[in-house]
Symmetry: C2
Subunit: 376 residues, 2 copies
């Protein structure tokens, strides 16, 4: 039994059994359409991406060679961590599936100001770093619109329009009883999600939003609004692909920017990152003797997640790590040292790339500004 399942984009979500989200919220299992996905990336192959809504719509656009968008957004409150990197990689993966794909990326500087007291100038700086990360990860800037919410009048206007189409009951049903500001924030995010379908960007089209399972309320709201404003603005219901939520390095349920040991960021000093990995929680037994006898427990091991989710693309190798672990052939210390080395050299390489992308990031934000429409 899983107890009550709570998906909360602003708080603690508790999901132990992801399959419950299928019956509870109508998320579809990724399994059923996995054969239709060309060159599935490791997240999909390993079911880190466990579910979706209307992903077929996007896959059909890939096959038909018709336009679609992939959208995401983030508060520019700090450097990318492994979670932001996962979303970024999925965005980029779906961008590269077709020359007809455009990425939309919203820098939520207004929210960063409201929630975190970050000035717009400071947000701009962090955002440039984030966008350089995206470019280093492979984002094609020629098919990307990167905009700041504070300047995106069309998004704000959409939020305003939507505010007339929602009722308090509807907001409470989706989000529970929350402060006014969070409801508005949700409407602005719906504006972000539906923006790519405005006339200025070629009109209605499939839009894919890669998110963590906890963000599903925003997806449901956007789909509801797309339905409500379909007549007026022609919206197609946006699609989503969901990844499992992952834990902090030290095993707490939430990572916290306040405790740097709980999360890896893409800007971590590689040596420090090595230390963090060595310090991470494993599914190991109390003694080596016990470990050899009973085997380790990779499914509750954060270090194993680094192999499975984040850093190893080769399925055979991940399978081998898993088998060796459960067979008691792996000792946690060695296992962590192996991946820690890769994490730190990966970060070194990524940081080198990122530095060279800063100018391009500044340009991309500037170019995008010129493409944004003034109004819906």
């Amino acid at each position: 039994m899983d107890g009550q399942v709570n998906l909360d984009p602003w708080g603690a979500s508790n999901v132990r059994d992801y399959s419950r989200l299928f019956s509870l919220f109508g998320i579809e299992p990724i399994d059923r359409i996995i054969d239709q996905i060309p060159r599935p990336n490791r997240y999909i192959r390993r079911r880190v991406d466990f579910g979706h809504r209307d992903l077929q719509r996007v896959l059909k656009a890939v096959v038909d060679g018709t336009p679609y968008a992939v959208m995401s957004g983030i508060k520019p409150t700090g450097v990318f961590h492994l979670g932001s990197r996962m979303t970024a990689e999925k965005m980029i993966y779906f961008q590269h599936l077709s020359p007809k794909a455009t990425v939309f990326y919203s820098i939520a500087d207004v929210e960063a100001y409201c929630d975190n007291g970050m000035s717009f100038a400071r947000s701009e700086k962090v955002a440039i770093q984030n966008v350089a990360d995206l470019l280093a990860l492979g984002l094609d800037p020629k098919r990307a619109i990167v905009y700041k919410q504070s300047e995106a009048t069309a998004v704000m206007d959409l939020a305003f329009v939507f505010s007339r189409g929602v009722t308090m009951n509807m907001m409470e049903a989706i989000y529970g009883n929350r402060p006014f500001g969070l409801y508005l924030s949700a409407l602005v995010q719906a504006g972000d999600i539906l923006l790519p379908q405005l006339k200025a960007f070629g009109g209605p089209k499939p839009v894919l939003v890669p998110v963590g399972a906890d963000q599903d309320p925003h997806i449901r709201l956007s789909r509801d609004l797309a339905r409500r404003y379909n007549k007026e603005l022609g919206f197609v219901l946006p699609s989503a692909i969901y990844h499992k939520l992952f834990r902090s390095l030290t095993g707490e349920s939430k990572m916290s920017k306040r405790d740097p040991m709980t999360l890896l960021t893409l800007a971590d000093d590689p040596k420090m990152a090595h230390k963090k990995v060595m310090n991470s929680l494993t599914g190991g037994r109390d003694t080596i003797a016990e470990q050899k006898k009973l085997g380790g427990q990779p499914d509750c091991c954060v270090a194993y997640e680094l192999y499975q989710y984040h850093f190893v693309d080769n399925d055979d190798r991940v399978g081998k790590v898993w088998r060796e672990c459960v067979n008691g052939e792996r000792v946690c210390g060695d296992c962590k040292a192996e991946i820690a080395d890769e994490v730190s050299s990966h970060l070194k390489e990524h940081q080198r790339k990122t530095v060279s992308m800063i100018d391009r990031a500044v340009d991309l934000i500037k170019e995008s500004r010129e493409q944004m429409p003034d109004k819906p």
Copy 2:
């Protein structure tokens, strides 16, 4: 007894005894500071402007020669009627009191879109006409910022910021239980009211908002927010001056754009306007004999309001009309014909001026756009 007094910016307000607003809502009587007002216009002299909040702050800026702002805004859903003209004239009066005054005028095209389904393009057209009216009425464009809400990112951003500072309880206490969209609309209006105090416009300063009594909830919200964000953004509490609500020409409590006979607009064909005035409700008696015996009732006469509020600047003449009426020396038909002639020639002259102002109006909107900051 007045029963319950209800001030509703979006619905029907019922005020019979304006002095009750002093004790109920803390509006101050204009009487107490009338001696401090230089060259009071007819609205103030005749107590059509019956109350205020912190008007002294603005009057002090006039005396000291320090900067202040006068702000108003309107949904561009149609041509100006006598109500919009009254607000416009007050704005212009306070602009001309000091060379340090700047007018801010918000074109609420987002609201017009949400509430009335008006496209932004159509709003733009109507707004140009409205701004030409303002110029014809004497607005000095060199000290005026006229902006469209749909393009005013700083206003939208302020609304977003404020959304985090309000609670549902606070909104309900001010506005009653209303749909989500109206609460947001109220926050955007608070953004409009506090915009002139942003750094881009020289920082905190007195701001006067001339409004009808029914708009007081918006003033209270803005003052509340100015207080809450005083530390962060340095806001001075905005001031307001309140006019009495007036009735439709035919005597219903609300004018309605759906029934053109109920209201005079500045674009009315002068002949048609003449007809409307002749058709308006008076405080006359059933027969001329009775009228001569008992006298008329100017205080419940819409035609008299045209003298008192709208078209006659000379106090002596208004006093004479009143006396002649109550003494039974005036017959309603003649009285209406007298003012109808003036209304129609006034409109003719105003329309001539307005036509010549259209280009200037287009320029003013364009120039203002360049002065608007991107963010708070």
